[in-house]
Assembly symmetry: C3
Homo-oligomer: 205 residues x 3
């Protein structure tokens, strides 16, 4: 069940990576590479940092196969895939919620305290997208447009890390923590909520 959810999340992230690659007119190897980096990157960073090596995302061939398929599907069907932007956003929110909560719980399991676990949970959720953007030659979108993306991820990860610290079973924490991230993220998309950007000019007095 959890494996299935995980693979669905990886697939959706991989499609988002593949779409960015297609829009940058990369070749088929570039599209599959960006799909893999986006789908697996966040988890690999977390695993390398906590010492869970080799990361399952690399050692388990199912984790390798899913983003390859995601990349190939995007490469061949991208006009159709690109039109599904709204559906992709919804799946992406689910992937984000699942990744950041699962990431925080895994960091906790490896002995990290609640604050580092929450931070690494967020990195699990957003890391793949950051790598995707670096490979595509652009400043990561989550740093630029005031999109409310990382904060909901951090919130879900923090709830999960706090719950685990209080001794709640992972199975009990997973769903509510992920739902906070998913719900907040979907509301932010629908309502157009934004975080502030830096002003280049000093404010008028």
């Amino acid at each position: 069940m959890l494996l299935t959810l995980d693979l669905v999340g990886i697939f959706v992230f991989a499609v988002s990576g593949g779409l960015v690659a297609v829009r940058n007119q990369l070749d088929i190897f570039g599209v599959v590479s960006l799909a893999m980096a986006t789908g697996l990157g966040g988890g690999v960073i977390r695993d390398v940092v906590i010492g869970a090596v080799p990361p399952p995302a690399i050692a388990d061939w199912r984790y390798l196969l899913v983003p390859v398929i995601g990349g190939l599907v995007t490469f061949w069907l991208h006009p159709a895939v690109g039109r599904l932007e709204r559906e992709i956003n919804v799946f992406d929110a689910f992937g984000l919620g699942l990744f950041c909560v699962a990431g925080a719980l895994k960091a906790q399991e490896y002995g990290l305290g609640p604050a580092p676990s929450a931070a690494l949970g967020m990195v699990t959720g957003v890391g793949g997208g950051i790598i995707r953007d670096l490979l595509a030659g652009r400043i990561p979108v989550i740093f630029r447009h005031g999109e409310l993306y990382a904060i909901p991820a951090l919130a879900g990860a923090a709830i999960a890390a706090t719950g685990a610290e209080l001794g709640l079973a992972p199975g009990v924490i997973l769903a509510p923590a992920a739902l906070v991230t998913i719900g907040w993220r979907l509301l932010a998309v629908r309502r157009g909520w934004r975080v502030p950007a830096a002003r280049q000019e000093p404010p008028a007095r």
Copy 2:
């Protein structure tokens, strides 16, 4: 013998990194840094991911010295070095073949299955060039131009990983697997073989 081959591969990759740096008008520290990142990056990524830390590429001073020399030579002699493009391409194909096969065999040794070992072997071969391009501020060339580079690397790595899985000795696998990569790559350069790039427009019906 293997060490010598490895150091030759690192040197050639380092020169390719140094040339990219020179063409971006970097300073001497930038040239040496790109040379080191290109020569050693793929192996370091592989070692960090499989838990072989500290990576020999960093812990053994000979591995550090060779790309430094490669970088300095390129910095001082780059007009001459730049004219050797055809020779560099040949040596680069040898480096690629050696790196991807050795990378796959090492991943296998650390307990990974054949598919992940093949993938990591490919990463060993192409990772340095990807880091080089990121540091030089451009989208990695192997993602863009349809160059047939990563696929031959994956083929050699897959043959090596399969052979090791079947119990063949590394010494028996190394040469034929590397030759597949090298031969395919050199043929692709000579014949101008390409992989497809993504079409931005949907195909006409």
Copy 3:
């Protein structure tokens, strides 16, 4: 004492990351992210490479909190912070000296020889800035402008690694090695010393 110095160094580096983010008009999450990456990135790379995982920079919440504060302060007060460029340069030199020496000593402790320890010490000092520039979409400044930054860092790290190799106590080595880096760097800033950049054209004869 050492912890305090370390946190001061992280804070200064975080402010430099935050300023780059503000100048690229990133949003508040981007500013804090670049502050964290700049303040902690060099140490995390070193720790991952030598196998000291999870890195204290991530497992200890104080190391996480300091660059977050550095980022938020920069986000809100950047017109004032930006005017402190000269003071920031001085603090940055102190952070560089401390980081590269502490990094070399830690690598030595983990069993690396003097040359790799010196190299990793330098990476500890300059790695955060390189990540900052990659995330901000620009070629790392230390590769481009001939700024005399990495060489003083390497010098201090090499002195520290050599001293440790000779059996001197870390407490004895730290201050003089760091002062070499700090002094050289501050002199280079004041006197405008430069390292050579690559010529694109062959020299006239």
